[in-house]
């Protein structure tokens, strides 16, 4: 089983606060791996370290066996690492078509083409349409992203990452803030993600975690507290104790 994403003794301090403590973590190919932990455990910090939004105080990050610790954010994306954000990070004034088209043409290497109209790129429209249909966004293609209802925005958030055709996908609470009624749509998309994409999922919603994940890591106060298969973690008394007092269903 190849390790696609790995950290070795990863640490991140904010002055006195040890946000990430000596985390050595491995994500395997094709994984459906969840990262859980109480609030403030440092899960998003960890994702930020993996994607280059934050630089580690010490330690290494490796993608496909290659060190990427000093690689730029966009460089990591080029190598196949994509993420979604807990709070939607979209392009409000762009349309859905523009947003998706932008990501796809960037992936294809046409991102810097200044000498031709984006509309003339061959095959771009078809691929945009395909992703839009997959994510139920085909009705709102022309709309400004800022005008979309929250549920559609969340779907777009994930669609943008999928459009990158990543090898490794980091999902930061994909169902966050999505009303009960629209959750199943989000979950349905996650379920049909290609098998060769390795996925790390941060979630608070335990039902989603146990439906989706085959492996679970538990992060507490920046350190890896426990790790194992879904069944092992579900049965782990210490993990339950850490969550006592935490509402574990949203």
């Amino acid at each position: 089983m190849t390790v696609v994403l790995e950290t070795r003794n990863l640490c991140r301090n904010f002055n006195a606060l040890k946000a990430t403590q000596d985390v050595s973590f491995q994500l395997h190919e094709g994984a459906r791996h969840a990262l859980i932990g109480p609030n403030g455990a440092g899960k998003t910090t960890f994702i930020n370290l993996l994607t280059g939004v934050l630089a580690p105080t010490s330690g290494e990050v490796l993608l496909m066996g290659q060190p990427i610790t000093r690689l730029s954010r966009h460089g990591r994306v080029r190598r196949g690492l994509a993420r979604t954000f807990q709070i939607n990070q979209l392009f409000p004034e762009l349309s859905v078509v523009e947003s998706l088209g932008l990501v796809i043409s960037e992936r294809r290497g046409n991102g810097a083409d200044w000498w031709r109209y984006a509309g003339r790129l061959p095959g771009l429209g078809e691929e945009v349409a395909q992703i839009a249909c997959d994510f139920g966004l085909d009705e709102v293609l022309d709309q400004r992203v800022a005008d979309l209802p929250y549920g559609k925005q969340r779907l777009l958030e994930i669609a943008l990452a999928i459009a990158l055709k990543p090898r490794v996908l980091l999902l930061d609470e994909p169902a966050a803030g999505v009303p009960e009624a629209d959750r199943h749509e989000v979950l349905a998309r996650l379920a049909v993600l290609p098998g060769d994409v390795s996925i790390l999922l941060i979630e608070h919603d335990m039902s989603l975690v146990f439906t989706f994940a085959s492996r679970i890591s538990v992060l507490v106060e920046g350190a890896l507290y426990a790790e194992g298969t879904a069944e092992e973690i579900a049965a782990d008394e210490r993990v339950k104790a850490v969550y006592l007092g935490e509402g574990d269903d949203e």
Partner: protein
Amino acid sequence: MTARPDPAASAATDTAAADTGRRVVRTMRRALRWSLPEILFWLVAFASIFLLPGQHLILTEIAILAVFALSIDLILGYAGIVSLGHAAMYGAGAYAAGLYAIHVTGEPLTGLVVGAAAGAVIAFATSFLLLRGGDLTRLMVTLGVAAVLFEIANKAYRITGGADGLQGIWMDPILGRFDFDLAGHTGYVYCLIVLFLLFLLARLVVNSPFGISLKAIRENPLRASAVGIPVNPRLVAIYTLAGAYAGVAGALFTHTQQFISLDALAFQKSADGLLVLIIGGTGYLYGGMIGALAYKVIQDVIANITPQYWLFWIGLLMVVFVLWGRDKPQRIFATLAARLRHRREGRE
């Protein structure tokens, strides 16, 4: 955990996807089409050559101001960079073109290239300072760069003429045939054509994948880098291009005025450019041109009433305009345009 695709359902979605695909391609191609107002605008602009022969001098000023404002639109309207010192590139282009005409040759077209290069070099060299820090830093850096160039031009008076200005610029006829005449006819046609060509290039660039990535960077730099856009190189690129445009504007000024003063590098110039663009609206390329027209008209009116203190009224205009809502003219225009489009689409 992947669901197994259902063959019948996927066939149905394939046709739906193909339909959507065609729709998407149509939407994407829409940006390429020249709308009726656009075509009319340029027809009127070129018609003014023949219809308004007595106004060519002021129209030339408007055209040059429009090129300058267009260059600011590229960085402000599309990349979101607020600059208080764009005159640095304008002045660099103006002085470079002037010195080129004096010391090398008065041929204007190569002079334009020299002006563009000067603007581009200044922009490129200082772009790296803009990448660090936030808006305040950028304001300060751009202000500082323009101030430095102003000081250099001032101190190096043996080369630049300092506060007296650069004189003795004689321009050769364009393409060997068209002399720069006192009535400004040649000058205007020259500037208008350059404006049009630069506009065409800008139109291509902002609607290219590169241009759309700039809008993404402006909207959300964090997400832009998270989808693989190399933010800094793109910003450097557009800033350099905008610098070249500003340099061309400066060169056009030198060629038509045949005299440059330190005003070309003054804060006033940068502020004027910003104001012109704001009046016309950012982010749709025509703002600079419309704004230049409006600004010159307003300036003329005010200068006639109070020649010495017109700066006060310009300031008041800015304050009122911003308080009232500087996107209001654009919004009114957009609502009208949308209503026209609905009516037309309803008829189709």
